[in-house]
Protein backbone atom coordinates (compact mmCIF):
# COMPACT_ATOMS: atom_id res chain seq x y z
CA UNK A 1 0.00 0.00 0.00
CA UNK A 2 1.41 3.39 -0.98
CA UNK A 3 1.64 6.34 1.36
CA UNK A 4 -0.28 9.55 0.72
CA UNK A 5 0.99 11.31 -2.42
CA UNK A 6 2.02 14.98 -2.17
CA UNK A 7 4.08 16.13 -5.18
CA UNK A 8 7.37 14.40 -6.02
CA UNK A 9 8.24 11.82 -3.37
CA UNK A 10 11.75 11.77 -1.87
CA UNK A 11 11.61 8.00 -1.63
CA UNK A 12 9.57 5.87 -3.97
CA UNK A 13 9.62 2.11 -3.79
CA UNK A 14 7.78 0.15 -6.45
CA UNK A 15 7.19 -3.56 -5.76
CA UNK A 16 10.54 -4.03 -4.07
CA UNK A 17 11.34 -7.63 -3.15
CA UNK A 18 14.41 -9.07 -1.53
CA UNK A 19 15.13 -12.69 -0.83
CA UNK A 20 18.15 -14.43 0.61
CA UNK A 21 19.28 -17.97 -0.18
CA UNK A 22 17.78 -20.41 -2.70
CA UNK A 23 15.58 -23.48 -2.65
CA UNK A 24 14.58 -24.69 0.80
CA UNK A 25 16.79 -22.12 2.51
CA UNK A 26 15.20 -19.19 0.65
CA UNK A 27 13.98 -16.42 2.91
CA UNK A 28 11.73 -13.68 1.51
CA UNK A 29 12.73 -10.64 3.56
CA UNK A 30 10.69 -8.16 1.48
CA UNK A 31 7.72 -8.95 -0.77
CA UNK A 32 6.42 -6.41 -3.27
CA UNK A 33 6.91 -3.45 -0.98
CA UNK A 34 5.66 -0.17 -2.42
CA UNK A 35 6.06 3.05 -0.53
CA UNK A 36 6.24 6.76 -1.13
CA UNK A 37 7.64 9.19 1.38
CA UNK A 38 7.36 12.90 0.70
CA UNK A 39 9.27 15.91 2.00
CA UNK A 40 8.45 16.84 5.63
CA UNK A 41 6.93 13.42 6.32
CA UNK A 42 8.01 11.48 9.39
CA UNK A 43 7.33 7.80 8.87
CA UNK A 44 7.67 4.83 11.21
CA UNK A 45 8.36 1.23 10.26
CA UNK A 46 7.15 -1.28 12.78
CA UNK A 47 7.25 -5.01 12.88
CA UNK A 48 8.44 -7.97 14.88
CA UNK A 49 12.00 -9.20 14.74
CA UNK A 50 12.75 -10.74 11.34
CA UNK A 51 9.88 -8.97 9.61
CA UNK A 52 12.23 -7.14 7.20
CA UNK A 53 12.50 -3.68 8.79
CA UNK A 54 16.30 -3.51 8.72
CA UNK A 55 16.38 -5.02 5.22
CA UNK A 56 14.03 -2.28 4.03
CA UNK A 57 16.14 0.37 5.73
CA UNK A 58 19.26 -1.08 4.05
CA UNK A 59 17.57 -1.00 0.64
CA UNK A 60 16.42 2.61 1.06
CA UNK A 61 19.90 3.48 2.38
CA UNK A 62 21.42 2.07 -0.85
CA UNK A 63 23.43 -0.49 1.11
CA UNK A 64 21.57 -3.58 -0.10
CA UNK A 65 20.37 -4.25 -3.63
CA UNK A 66 16.82 -5.58 -3.87
CA UNK A 67 16.11 -8.73 -5.85
CA UNK A 68 13.44 -7.03 -7.91
CA UNK A 69 11.48 -3.81 -8.14
CA UNK A 70 12.39 -0.17 -8.60
CA UNK A 71 13.44 2.65 -6.32
CA UNK A 72 13.73 6.38 -6.76
CA UNK A 73 15.60 8.67 -4.41
CA UNK A 74 14.81 12.38 -4.69
CA UNK A 75 13.48 11.87 -8.22
CA UNK A 76 16.50 9.84 -9.43
CA UNK A 77 15.97 6.23 -10.46
CA UNK A 78 18.45 4.31 -8.34
CA UNK A 79 17.18 0.75 -8.80
CA UNK A 80 15.35 -0.73 -11.75
CA UNK A 81 14.44 -4.41 -12.05
CA UNK A 82 16.51 -5.12 -8.99
CA UNK A 83 19.67 -3.58 -10.45
CA UNK A 84 21.55 -0.49 -9.36
CA UNK A 85 21.26 2.24 -11.97
CA UNK A 86 23.97 4.37 -10.39
CA UNK A 87 27.61 3.46 -9.79
CA UNK A 88 28.60 5.79 -6.99
CA UNK A 89 26.20 4.83 -4.21
CA UNK A 90 28.64 6.14 -1.61
CA UNK A 91 28.29 9.65 -3.01
CA UNK A 92 24.51 9.26 -3.15
CA UNK A 93 24.46 8.32 0.54
CA UNK A 94 26.80 11.19 1.37
CA UNK A 95 24.73 13.79 -0.49
CA UNK A 96 21.15 12.62 0.04
CA UNK A 97 20.88 10.35 3.07
CA UNK A 98 21.63 10.84 6.73
CA UNK A 99 21.77 7.94 9.18
CA UNK A 100 20.87 7.85 12.85
CA UNK A 101 21.80 4.66 14.66
CA UNK A 102 20.35 2.84 17.61
CA UNK A 103 23.56 3.17 19.63
CA UNK A 104 24.56 6.52 18.07
CA UNK A 105 27.77 4.96 16.57
CA UNK A 106 29.86 8.06 17.17
CA UNK A 107 33.52 7.57 16.33
CA UNK A 108 35.18 7.25 19.75
CA UNK A 109 38.43 8.88 18.64
CA UNK A 110 36.79 12.15 17.52
CA UNK A 111 35.23 14.76 19.75
CA UNK A 112 31.61 15.86 19.27
CA UNK A 113 32.53 18.62 16.80
CA UNK A 114 34.68 16.40 14.62
CA UNK A 115 32.12 13.59 14.68
CA UNK A 116 29.83 16.01 12.89
CA UNK A 117 32.54 17.69 10.83
CA UNK A 118 33.81 14.36 9.44
CA UNK A 119 30.75 14.07 7.19
CA UNK A 120 31.28 17.58 5.84
CA UNK A 121 34.98 16.87 5.32
CA UNK A 122 34.06 13.76 3.33
CA UNK A 123 31.65 15.89 1.31
CA UNK A 124 34.50 18.19 0.35
CA UNK A 125 34.25 21.01 2.88
CA UNK A 126 37.43 22.63 4.20
CA UNK A 127 38.28 21.82 7.79
CA UNK A 128 37.50 25.27 9.14
CA UNK A 129 34.16 25.49 7.34
CA UNK A 130 33.26 21.95 8.39
CA UNK A 131 33.99 22.67 12.04
CA UNK A 132 32.11 25.97 11.92
CA UNK A 133 28.97 24.31 10.58
CA UNK A 134 29.38 21.40 13.03
CA UNK A 135 29.51 23.79 15.99
CA UNK A 136 26.47 25.68 14.66
CA UNK A 137 24.53 22.40 14.39
CA UNK A 138 25.54 21.33 17.88
CA UNK A 139 24.44 24.71 19.20
CA UNK A 140 21.14 24.35 17.38
CA UNK A 141 20.62 20.92 18.94
CA UNK A 142 21.54 22.39 22.34
CA UNK A 143 24.71 20.35 22.83
CA UNK A 144 27.12 23.12 21.82
CA UNK A 145 28.49 23.24 25.35
CA UNK A 146 29.72 19.66 24.85
CA UNK A 147 31.40 20.31 21.50
CA UNK A 148 34.87 19.29 22.72
CA UNK A 149 33.72 16.23 24.65
CA UNK A 150 34.63 12.72 23.54
CA UNK A 151 31.67 10.38 22.89
CA UNK A 152 32.52 8.43 26.05
CA UNK A 153 32.01 11.62 28.07
CA UNK A 154 28.52 12.32 26.68
CA UNK A 155 25.25 11.17 28.22
CA UNK A 156 22.91 9.01 26.12
CA UNK A 157 20.77 12.00 25.16
CA UNK A 158 23.76 14.17 24.33
CA UNK A 159 25.34 11.43 22.22
CA UNK A 160 22.10 10.93 20.30
CA UNK A 161 21.86 14.69 19.62
CA UNK A 162 25.43 14.67 18.31
CA UNK A 163 24.49 11.69 16.13
CA UNK A 164 21.48 13.63 14.82
CA UNK A 165 23.74 16.60 14.11
CA UNK A 166 26.03 14.28 12.14
CA UNK A 167 23.06 12.91 10.18
CA UNK A 168 21.98 16.44 9.33
CA UNK A 169 25.43 17.87 8.65
CA UNK A 170 25.36 17.63 4.87
CA UNK A 171 21.70 18.71 4.65
CA UNK A 172 20.39 15.31 3.46
CA UNK A 173 16.88 15.06 1.98
CA UNK A 174 16.26 11.69 3.63
CA UNK A 175 17.09 10.67 7.20
CA UNK A 176 17.01 6.99 8.04
CA UNK A 177 16.84 6.26 11.74
CA UNK A 178 17.30 2.84 13.26
CA UNK A 179 15.65 2.78 16.70
CA UNK A 180 16.65 6.41 17.32
CA UNK A 181 15.18 6.49 20.82
CA UNK A 182 16.00 2.99 22.00
CA UNK A 183 18.77 4.18 24.32
CA UNK A 184 16.76 7.08 25.77
CA UNK A 185 14.20 7.43 28.55
CA UNK A 186 10.66 8.36 27.51
CA UNK A 187 11.07 12.09 28.17
CA UNK A 188 14.25 12.33 26.16
CA UNK A 189 12.79 10.06 23.46
CA UNK A 190 9.90 12.49 22.95
CA UNK A 191 12.28 15.46 22.89
CA UNK A 192 14.41 13.76 20.22
CA UNK A 193 11.35 12.93 18.12
CA UNK A 194 10.05 16.50 18.40
CA UNK A 195 13.44 17.68 17.29
CA UNK A 196 13.44 15.33 14.29
CA UNK A 197 9.96 16.53 13.29
CA UNK A 198 11.12 20.13 13.54
CA UNK A 199 14.24 19.42 11.45
CA UNK A 200 12.21 17.58 8.80
CA UNK A 201 9.95 20.61 8.48
CA UNK A 202 12.81 23.12 8.43
CA UNK A 203 15.01 21.23 6.01
CA UNK A 204 12.20 19.95 3.82
CA UNK A 205 13.45 16.43 4.46
CA UNK A 206 11.80 13.07 5.04
CA UNK A 207 12.44 10.85 8.03
CA UNK A 208 11.99 7.09 7.99
CA UNK A 209 12.49 5.46 11.36
CA UNK A 210 12.44 1.88 12.53
CA UNK A 211 11.11 1.80 16.05
CA UNK A 212 9.40 -0.30 18.68
CA UNK A 213 8.92 2.60 21.03
CA UNK A 214 5.14 2.98 21.53
CA UNK A 215 5.66 6.18 23.51
CA UNK A 216 6.62 8.04 20.36
CA UNK A 217 4.07 6.63 17.91
CA UNK A 218 2.09 9.87 18.05
CA UNK A 219 5.11 11.75 16.66
CA UNK A 220 4.82 10.03 13.27
CA UNK A 221 2.77 11.10 10.28
CA UNK A 222 2.46 7.54 9.03
CA UNK A 223 3.09 4.20 10.65
CA UNK A 224 3.75 1.17 8.51
CA UNK A 225 3.72 -2.38 9.72
CA UNK A 226 5.95 -5.01 8.19
CA UNK A 227 4.76 -8.59 8.51
CA UNK A 228 6.68 -11.39 6.82
CA UNK A 229 8.16 -8.90 4.39
CA UNK A 230 4.86 -7.26 3.44
CA UNK A 231 4.12 -3.65 4.21
CA UNK A 232 0.75 -2.47 5.56
CA UNK A 233 -0.11 1.03 6.60
CA UNK A 234 -1.55 0.98 10.10
CA UNK A 235 -2.72 4.55 10.24
CA UNK A 236 -1.35 7.90 11.01
CA UNK A 237 -0.44 9.76 14.14
CA UNK A 238 -1.85 8.73 17.44
CA UNK A 239 -4.71 6.76 15.86
CA UNK A 240 -2.17 4.57 14.14
CA UNK A 241 -0.58 3.88 17.45
CA UNK A 242 -3.92 2.91 18.96
CA UNK A 243 -4.64 0.60 16.05
CA UNK A 244 -1.27 -1.00 16.56
CA UNK A 245 -1.85 -1.47 20.22
CA UNK A 246 -5.17 -3.16 19.47
CA UNK A 247 -3.75 -5.41 16.76
Amino acid sequence: MAARIEGTPLVRLDRISKHFGVGETRVDALRDVSLEVHPRQVVALLGPSGSGKTTLLNVIGCILAPTSGAMEIDGEIVVRDGRWQRGDLRRLRLDKIGFIFQSHNLLPFLDATDNVAVVLKLAGFGMAAARKRAVALLDYLEVGHRKSAAPAQLSGGEAQRVAIARALANRPRIILADEPTAALDSKRAQIVMDLLRKLAAEQNAAIIAVTHDEKIFDRFDHIFQLRDGRLDEQGNGKNGAIEMAQA
Binding site: T54, I63, R90, D95, F99, Q102, L107, F109, R166, D178
Partner: protein, 377 residues
Protein backbone atom coordinates in the same frame (compact mmCIF):
# COMPACT_ATOMS: atom_id res chain seq x y z
CA UNK B 1 41.38 15.61 9.82
CA UNK B 2 43.72 12.67 10.02
CA UNK B 3 41.66 9.73 11.25
CA UNK B 4 44.70 7.48 11.77
CA UNK B 5 46.39 10.06 14.00
CA UNK B 6 43.17 10.76 15.93
CA UNK B 7 42.59 7.06 16.53
CA UNK B 8 46.17 6.60 17.72
CA UNK B 9 45.84 9.61 20.04
CA UNK B 10 42.61 8.17 21.43
CA UNK B 11 44.41 4.95 22.45
CA UNK B 12 47.87 6.44 22.84
CA UNK B 13 49.04 4.39 25.82
CA UNK B 14 47.99 1.12 24.25
CA UNK B 15 49.48 2.07 20.90
CA UNK B 16 52.81 3.05 22.47
CA UNK B 17 52.91 -0.18 24.47
CA UNK B 18 52.34 -2.11 21.24
CA UNK B 19 55.11 -0.08 19.60
CA UNK B 20 57.38 -0.79 22.55
CA UNK B 21 56.74 -4.53 22.25
CA UNK B 22 57.39 -4.41 18.53
CA UNK B 23 60.43 -2.23 19.20
CA UNK B 24 61.91 -4.87 21.51
CA UNK B 25 61.42 -7.48 18.80
CA UNK B 26 62.96 -5.25 16.13
CA UNK B 27 65.73 -4.42 18.60
CA UNK B 28 66.55 -8.12 18.80
CA UNK B 29 66.61 -8.27 14.99
CA UNK B 30 68.94 -5.27 14.91
CA UNK B 31 71.12 -6.83 17.61
CA UNK B 32 71.40 -10.03 15.60
CA UNK B 33 72.36 -8.07 12.50
CA UNK B 34 74.90 -6.19 14.61
CA UNK B 35 76.29 -9.44 16.06
CA UNK B 36 76.45 -10.90 12.54
CA UNK B 37 78.32 -7.85 11.26
CA UNK B 38 80.50 -7.82 14.38
CA UNK B 39 81.47 -11.44 13.84
CA UNK B 40 82.66 -10.70 10.30
CA UNK B 41 84.42 -7.47 11.30
CA UNK B 42 86.10 -9.16 14.29
CA UNK B 43 87.28 -11.98 12.06
CA UNK B 44 88.92 -9.50 9.70
CA UNK B 45 90.27 -7.11 12.33
CA UNK B 46 93.42 -9.01 13.22
CA UNK B 47 94.15 -9.78 9.58
CA UNK B 48 93.75 -6.13 8.65
CA UNK B 49 95.66 -4.77 11.66
CA UNK B 50 99.20 -5.07 10.22
CA UNK B 51 98.09 -3.34 7.00
CA UNK B 52 100.09 -5.66 4.75
CA UNK B 53 99.71 -7.02 1.23
CA UNK B 54 101.07 -10.53 1.61
CA UNK B 55 101.05 -13.40 4.11
CA UNK B 56 103.83 -15.97 3.85
CA UNK B 57 103.02 -19.19 5.71
CA UNK B 58 103.96 -22.87 5.89
CA UNK B 59 103.57 -24.73 2.59
CA UNK B 60 100.21 -26.40 1.93
CA UNK B 61 98.47 -24.50 4.69
CA UNK B 62 96.05 -21.59 4.76
CA UNK B 63 97.54 -20.14 7.94
CA UNK B 64 98.02 -18.56 10.26
CA UNK B 65 94.33 -18.11 11.22
CA UNK B 66 92.44 -20.90 9.46
CA UNK B 67 95.21 -23.49 9.87
CA UNK B 68 98.36 -23.88 11.97
CA UNK B 69 101.54 -22.63 10.31
CA UNK B 70 105.16 -22.77 11.45
CA UNK B 71 108.05 -21.43 9.42
CA UNK B 72 111.67 -20.65 10.32
CA UNK B 73 112.32 -17.20 11.79
CA UNK B 74 114.87 -16.32 9.13
CA UNK B 75 112.21 -16.53 6.43
CA UNK B 76 111.59 -12.83 6.95
CA UNK B 77 115.15 -12.08 5.72
CA UNK B 78 114.53 -14.02 2.52
CA UNK B 79 111.13 -12.41 1.91
CA UNK B 80 112.38 -8.87 2.45
CA UNK B 81 114.97 -9.43 -0.30
CA UNK B 82 112.44 -10.35 -2.98
CA UNK B 83 112.04 -7.70 -5.64
CA UNK B 84 108.94 -5.60 -5.01
CA UNK B 85 108.79 -6.13 -1.23
CA UNK B 86 108.97 -2.87 0.71
CA UNK B 87 108.99 -4.26 4.24
CA UNK B 88 108.47 -7.61 5.96
CA UNK B 89 108.02 -8.73 9.54
CA UNK B 90 107.75 -11.97 11.42
CA UNK B 91 104.67 -12.60 13.45
CA UNK B 92 103.29 -15.17 15.88
CA UNK B 93 99.77 -15.79 17.14
CA UNK B 94 98.64 -17.83 20.11
CA UNK B 95 95.79 -17.92 22.60
CA UNK B 96 96.67 -17.98 26.29
CA UNK B 97 94.78 -17.86 29.54
CA UNK B 98 96.19 -15.66 32.27
CA UNK B 99 95.17 -14.76 35.79
CA UNK B 100 94.19 -11.13 36.28
CA UNK B 101 92.84 -9.79 39.56
CA UNK B 102 91.63 -13.23 40.54
CA UNK B 103 89.83 -13.96 37.29
CA UNK B 104 90.82 -15.95 34.26
CA UNK B 105 91.57 -13.80 31.24
CA UNK B 106 91.64 -15.26 27.74
CA UNK B 107 94.04 -13.35 25.50
CA UNK B 108 95.10 -13.57 21.88
CA UNK B 109 98.84 -12.92 22.02
CA UNK B 110 100.48 -11.44 18.92
CA UNK B 111 104.26 -11.36 18.77
CA UNK B 112 105.77 -8.87 16.33
CA UNK B 113 108.95 -7.02 15.56
CA UNK B 114 108.35 -3.44 16.73
CA UNK B 115 110.19 -1.80 13.83
CA UNK B 116 108.56 -3.96 11.20
CA UNK B 117 105.02 -4.66 9.91
CA UNK B 118 102.79 -6.70 12.20
CA UNK B 119 102.17 -4.38 15.16
CA UNK B 120 98.95 -2.75 16.36
CA UNK B 121 97.33 -0.37 13.86
CA UNK B 122 97.18 2.44 16.40
CA UNK B 123 97.64 2.94 20.10
CA UNK B 124 94.58 4.69 21.55
CA UNK B 125 96.11 5.34 24.97
CA UNK B 126 99.70 5.12 26.27
CA UNK B 127 102.52 4.30 23.85
CA UNK B 128 103.78 1.57 21.55
CA UNK B 129 106.35 -1.05 22.55
CA UNK B 130 109.79 0.54 22.89
CA UNK B 131 111.74 -2.09 24.81
CA UNK B 132 112.80 -5.54 23.67
CA UNK B 133 111.10 -7.41 26.50
CA UNK B 134 108.21 -7.51 28.91
CA UNK B 135 106.13 -4.70 27.51
CA UNK B 136 102.61 -5.22 26.26
CA UNK B 137 100.04 -3.28 24.27
CA UNK B 138 96.59 -4.67 25.10
CA UNK B 139 93.12 -4.15 23.72
CA UNK B 140 90.68 -2.30 25.95
CA UNK B 141 88.21 -5.18 25.89
CA UNK B 142 90.69 -7.20 27.97
CA UNK B 143 89.92 -4.89 30.88
CA UNK B 144 93.60 -4.15 31.47
CA UNK B 145 94.76 -0.66 32.40
CA UNK B 146 97.97 1.20 31.75
CA UNK B 147 100.62 0.12 34.23
CA UNK B 148 98.96 -3.20 34.99
CA UNK B 149 101.31 -6.12 35.30
CA UNK B 150 100.23 -9.52 34.10
CA UNK B 151 102.01 -12.85 33.95
CA UNK B 152 102.10 -14.78 30.69
CA UNK B 153 103.94 -18.07 30.88
CA UNK B 154 106.96 -17.49 33.08
CA UNK B 155 107.32 -13.78 32.28
CA UNK B 156 105.56 -10.75 33.69
CA UNK B 157 104.51 -8.00 31.28
CA UNK B 158 103.62 -4.37 31.89
CA UNK B 159 100.77 -2.82 29.97
CA UNK B 160 102.17 0.33 28.34
CA UNK B 161 99.55 0.95 25.65
CA UNK B 162 95.90 0.27 24.85
CA UNK B 163 94.26 -0.39 21.50
CA UNK B 164 90.65 -0.29 20.44
CA UNK B 165 88.58 -3.10 18.87
CA UNK B 166 91.52 -5.50 18.37
CA UNK B 167 90.01 -8.95 18.90
CA UNK B 168 90.32 -12.29 17.11
CA UNK B 169 87.54 -14.18 15.35
CA UNK B 170 86.53 -15.77 18.64
CA UNK B 171 86.19 -12.39 20.30
CA UNK B 172 89.29 -12.78 22.51
CA UNK B 173 91.09 -9.46 23.06
CA UNK B 174 94.48 -9.12 21.36
CA UNK B 175 97.67 -8.22 23.21
CA UNK B 176 100.87 -7.31 21.40
CA UNK B 177 104.29 -8.25 22.73
CA UNK B 178 107.73 -8.42 21.08
CA UNK B 179 108.51 -11.38 18.86
CA UNK B 180 111.25 -12.81 21.16
CA UNK B 181 108.89 -12.69 24.14
CA UNK B 182 106.14 -14.34 22.08
CA UNK B 183 108.52 -17.04 20.82
CA UNK B 184 109.65 -17.71 24.35
CA UNK B 185 106.02 -17.95 25.48
CA UNK B 186 105.04 -20.20 22.59
CA UNK B 187 108.01 -22.45 22.05
CA UNK B 188 110.05 -22.59 25.31
CA UNK B 189 109.39 -25.62 27.40
CA UNK B 190 109.08 -25.52 31.16
CA UNK B 191 112.45 -26.38 32.84
CA UNK B 192 111.38 -29.90 33.83
CA UNK B 193 110.08 -30.72 30.35
CA UNK B 194 113.25 -29.23 28.81
CA UNK B 195 115.41 -31.46 31.01
CA UNK B 196 113.46 -34.52 29.83
CA UNK B 197 114.04 -33.53 26.19
CA UNK B 198 117.77 -33.05 26.82
CA UNK B 199 117.91 -36.44 28.55
CA UNK B 200 116.24 -38.01 25.49
CA UNK B 201 118.94 -36.42 23.34
CA UNK B 202 116.58 -34.26 21.27
CA UNK B 203 117.80 -30.98 22.68
CA UNK B 204 114.38 -29.37 22.26
CA UNK B 205 112.87 -27.63 19.25
CA UNK B 206 114.37 -24.48 17.78
CA UNK B 207 112.82 -21.38 19.31
CA UNK B 208 113.35 -19.18 16.24
CA UNK B 209 110.10 -20.22 14.64
CA UNK B 210 107.25 -17.91 13.58
CA UNK B 211 103.68 -18.47 12.39
CA UNK B 212 103.85 -16.16 9.41
CA UNK B 213 105.82 -13.46 7.69
CA UNK B 214 103.81 -10.44 6.60
CA UNK B 215 105.01 -8.16 3.84
CA UNK B 216 104.11 -4.85 2.26
CA UNK B 217 104.92 -4.51 -1.40
CA UNK B 218 106.25 -1.44 -3.11
CA UNK B 219 103.76 0.96 -4.64
CA UNK B 220 104.59 -0.08 -8.21
CA UNK B 221 104.74 -3.82 -7.43
CA UNK B 222 102.01 -6.42 -7.59
CA UNK B 223 101.21 -8.52 -4.51
CA UNK B 224 100.17 -11.39 -6.81
CA UNK B 225 103.50 -11.32 -8.59
CA UNK B 226 105.42 -11.37 -5.30
CA UNK B 227 103.19 -14.19 -4.04
CA UNK B 228 103.95 -16.12 -7.21
CA UNK B 229 107.68 -15.67 -6.58
CA UNK B 230 107.34 -16.94 -3.00
CA UNK B 231 105.33 -19.99 -4.12
CA UNK B 232 108.31 -21.13 -6.22
CA UNK B 233 109.93 -22.02 -2.92
CA UNK B 234 108.24 -25.29 -2.22
CA UNK B 235 108.49 -25.00 1.58
CA UNK B 236 106.40 -21.79 1.70
CA UNK B 237 102.90 -20.68 0.75
CA UNK B 238 101.93 -17.12 -0.04
CA UNK B 239 98.47 -15.63 0.46
CA UNK B 240 97.54 -12.13 -0.62
CA UNK B 241 95.61 -9.92 1.80
CA UNK B 242 92.47 -10.29 -0.30
CA UNK B 243 92.74 -14.08 -0.18
CA UNK B 244 93.40 -14.02 3.55
CA UNK B 245 90.23 -11.98 4.18
CA UNK B 246 88.28 -14.38 1.99
CA UNK B 247 89.59 -17.35 3.99
CA UNK B 248 88.58 -15.65 7.23
CA UNK B 249 85.10 -14.61 6.19
CA UNK B 250 84.25 -17.67 4.07
CA UNK B 251 85.98 -20.38 6.02
CA UNK B 252 86.82 -19.51 9.59
CA UNK B 253 83.55 -17.86 10.63
CA UNK B 254 81.39 -19.16 7.82
CA UNK B 255 79.30 -21.57 9.88
CA UNK B 256 78.72 -19.08 12.69
CA UNK B 257 77.96 -16.40 10.11
CA UNK B 258 75.39 -18.58 8.36
CA UNK B 259 73.88 -19.65 11.70
CA UNK B 260 73.35 -16.06 12.78
CA UNK B 261 72.20 -15.08 9.30
CA UNK B 262 69.55 -17.81 9.31
CA UNK B 263 68.42 -16.90 12.81
CA UNK B 264 68.17 -13.24 11.78
CA UNK B 265 66.06 -14.22 8.78
CA UNK B 266 63.76 -16.26 11.04
CA UNK B 267 63.43 -13.31 13.40
CA UNK B 268 62.49 -11.09 10.47
CA UNK B 269 59.79 -13.55 9.41
CA UNK B 270 58.48 -13.73 12.99
CA UNK B 271 58.46 -9.91 13.13
CA UNK B 272 56.53 -9.75 9.86
CA UNK B 273 53.92 -12.22 11.16
CA UNK B 274 53.58 -10.32 14.44
CA UNK B 275 53.24 -6.95 12.66
CA UNK B 276 50.58 -8.45 10.40
CA UNK B 277 48.67 -9.87 13.38
CA UNK B 278 48.85 -6.61 15.32
CA UNK B 279 47.54 -4.59 12.37
CA UNK B 280 44.86 -7.16 11.62
CA UNK B 281 43.73 -7.16 15.25
CA UNK B 282 43.73 -3.34 15.36
CA UNK B 283 41.51 -3.35 12.26
CA UNK B 284 39.15 -6.03 13.57
CA UNK B 285 38.58 -3.98 16.72
CA UNK B 286 37.43 -1.08 14.56
CA UNK B 287 35.05 -2.91 12.23
CA UNK B 288 31.95 -1.17 13.59
CA UNK B 289 33.63 2.23 13.22
CA UNK B 290 34.75 1.34 9.71
CA UNK B 291 31.20 0.25 8.85
CA UNK B 292 29.90 3.57 10.20
CA UNK B 293 32.46 5.51 8.18
CA UNK B 294 31.46 3.61 5.05
CA UNK B 295 27.78 4.18 5.73
CA UNK B 296 28.16 7.94 6.15
CA UNK B 297 30.00 8.07 2.84
CA UNK B 298 33.72 7.61 3.51
CA UNK B 299 35.50 6.38 0.36
CA UNK B 300 37.64 3.25 0.46
CA UNK B 301 40.80 5.35 0.16
CA UNK B 302 39.99 7.02 3.50
CA UNK B 303 39.65 3.63 5.20
CA UNK B 304 42.77 2.22 3.48
CA UNK B 305 44.70 5.39 4.35
CA UNK B 306 43.78 5.08 8.00
CA UNK B 307 44.94 1.45 8.25
CA UNK B 308 48.13 1.91 6.21
CA UNK B 309 49.12 5.06 8.08
CA UNK B 310 48.63 3.31 11.42
CA UNK B 311 50.64 0.33 10.20
CA UNK B 312 53.49 2.57 9.07
CA UNK B 313 53.37 4.56 12.32
CA UNK B 314 53.52 1.32 14.26
CA UNK B 315 56.50 0.11 12.24
CA UNK B 316 58.33 3.45 12.35
CA UNK B 317 57.89 4.05 16.08
CA UNK B 318 58.62 0.40 16.89
CA UNK B 319 61.74 0.50 14.73
CA UNK B 320 62.85 3.77 16.35
CA UNK B 321 62.36 2.23 19.81
CA UNK B 322 64.38 -0.82 18.80
CA UNK B 323 67.17 1.20 17.17
CA UNK B 324 67.50 3.57 20.15
CA UNK B 325 67.54 0.62 22.53
CA UNK B 326 70.26 -1.29 20.67
CA UNK B 327 72.43 1.78 19.98
CA UNK B 328 72.41 2.46 23.72
CA UNK B 329 73.13 -1.06 24.95
CA UNK B 330 75.30 -2.47 22.17
CA UNK B 331 78.53 -1.72 24.00
CA UNK B 332 77.44 -3.92 26.91
CA UNK B 333 77.40 -7.03 24.73
CA UNK B 334 80.34 -9.35 25.44
CA UNK B 335 81.16 -9.36 21.72
CA UNK B 336 81.22 -6.49 19.33
CA UNK B 337 77.88 -5.40 17.86
CA UNK B 338 78.52 -3.45 14.66
CA UNK B 339 75.59 -1.41 13.43
CA UNK B 340 76.46 0.33 10.21
CA UNK B 341 74.06 3.03 8.96
CA UNK B 342 73.40 1.01 5.81
CA UNK B 343 72.37 -2.06 7.88
CA UNK B 344 69.94 0.07 9.91
CA UNK B 345 68.60 1.66 6.73
CA UNK B 346 68.08 -1.70 5.04
CA UNK B 347 66.23 -3.09 8.06
CA UNK B 348 64.18 0.11 8.17
CA UNK B 349 63.19 -0.41 4.54
CA UNK B 350 62.37 -4.06 5.24
CA UNK B 351 60.16 -3.03 8.19
CA UNK B 352 58.50 -0.42 5.95
CA UNK B 353 57.79 -3.07 3.30
CA UNK B 354 56.60 -5.58 5.91
CA UNK B 355 54.23 -2.97 7.39
CA UNK B 356 52.85 -2.18 3.96
CA UNK B 357 52.34 -5.86 3.15
CA UNK B 358 50.98 -6.65 6.60
CA UNK B 359 48.48 -3.82 6.42
CA UNK B 360 47.10 -5.55 3.32
CA UNK B 361 45.50 -8.15 5.59
CA UNK B 362 43.80 -5.42 7.63
CA UNK B 363 42.83 -3.47 4.51
CA UNK B 364 41.26 -6.58 3.02
CA UNK B 365 39.22 -7.14 6.19
CA UNK B 366 38.18 -3.48 6.25
CA UNK B 367 37.12 -3.40 2.62
CA UNK B 368 34.95 -6.46 3.15
CA UNK B 369 33.04 -4.81 5.97
CA UNK B 370 29.40 -4.37 5.03
CA UNK B 371 28.25 -0.83 5.87
CA UNK B 372 24.96 -2.42 6.92
CA UNK B 373 26.68 -3.78 10.05
CA UNK B 374 26.63 -0.22 11.41
CA UNK B 375 22.84 -0.44 11.54
CA UNK B 376 21.17 -2.41 14.30
CA UNK B 377 22.34 -2.98 17.89
Amino acid sequence: MNLAYRDIRHNLGRFLLTCLGLGLLLGVVLAMIGIYRGLVVDALTIARAPAVDLWVVEANTRGPFAEASRIPGDTREAISRIAGVAAAGSITYQTVEAQYRGTKLRLYVIGFEPTRPGGPPEVAQGRGIARSHYEMVADRTAGLELGDRIQLGRSTFTVIGLTQHQVNSGGDPAVYITLPDAQKLQFDLAPAAARVQVARGTGGAARDTVNAVVARVQRNASADAVAETVRRWKHLAAITQEEQELILSRSLVDRARRQIGLFTSLLLVVSAVIIALIIYTMTMEKLKQIATLKLIGAPDRTIIGMIVQQALALGFIGFAFGAILIVNIKDYFPRRVVLEPDNVLVLGLIVFAVCLLSSGLGVRAALRVDPATALGG
